[in-house]
Symmetry: C2
Subunit: 112 residues, 2 copies
DNA sequence: TCGTTGTACATAGATAATCTATGTAACTTA
DNA sequence: TAAGTTACATAGATTATCTATGTACAACGA
């Protein structure tokens, strides 16, 4: 299964927001979570994730905090903001709508 | 309902391919068809569509032919190629997979 | 016959985004 | 101590969208 670039691009923001709505997390762990929920189908490179996280933070959809974990690890923890939750809700609705449109289109004349 | 740019971008190619799989069509009519299948939710500007059509043709997923309609209209008709049908099939599978991943993610912790 | 609206295609240029490659550094484990 | 993993960051190339603008003809009403 190869996901097209635009499809990955369309999913990245709502996916990150949804993962952070599960609870506070950090870059490296988000990548693992993506692999997990996709059943190994998606592999995000870290160089892909961090710029997206920075953009989301700039837009105030998420916020970050440097913290020391118990093992002594220095990590940047991200959490979703109220604005982020609202945005996620909207993006979720848009996704479902778009999916319905695509399914309708395909059902008329299913791909052979 | 406002669709995000990336979501529109992700849908444009499979949508055009699916519309052309219904039968030969041309730019202006494709825009109307998009409006129709989306229940008026999507409005494509012509300046958005034509570059995508040109790209798809360059990739040999569709092919074009200038024709004179009965009313005397000069139109560029597009039809899907075999390669285009295969690509549509793959993109459809990828879309369905991605949708499943998103639904799984959202079901774990539904957006409030 | 003139102006407006609709049909029909095209592209330039600004903007925005991804994605690869690369760099840094600390911790873990063999 | 070497290799692998964890962890974050950014530069630069590439790619794509999207707005604005241009052309042209048909249809229709005033």
């Amino acid at each position: 299964m190869a996901f097209s670039k635009p499809l990955v691009a369309a999913s990245s923001r709502p996916m990150i927001l949804a993962i952070l709505q599960e609870g506070t997390s950090y870059g490296y762990k988000i990548i693992q979570r993506v692999r997990e929920i996709s059943g190994g189908q998606m592999e995000w490179a870290d160089g892909m994730l961090y710029p997206v996280l920075h953009r989301l933070e700039k837009e105030k959809l998420i916020q970050s905090q440097w913290m020391q974990s118990e093992e002594g690890r220095h990590r940047k923890y991200y959490s979703i903001t109220e604005l982020g939750k609202e945005t996620l809700h909207q993006e979720k609705e848009a996704w479902i709508s778009m999916n319905q449109i695509m399914l309708n289109l395909w059902d008329l004349k299913p791909a052979k």
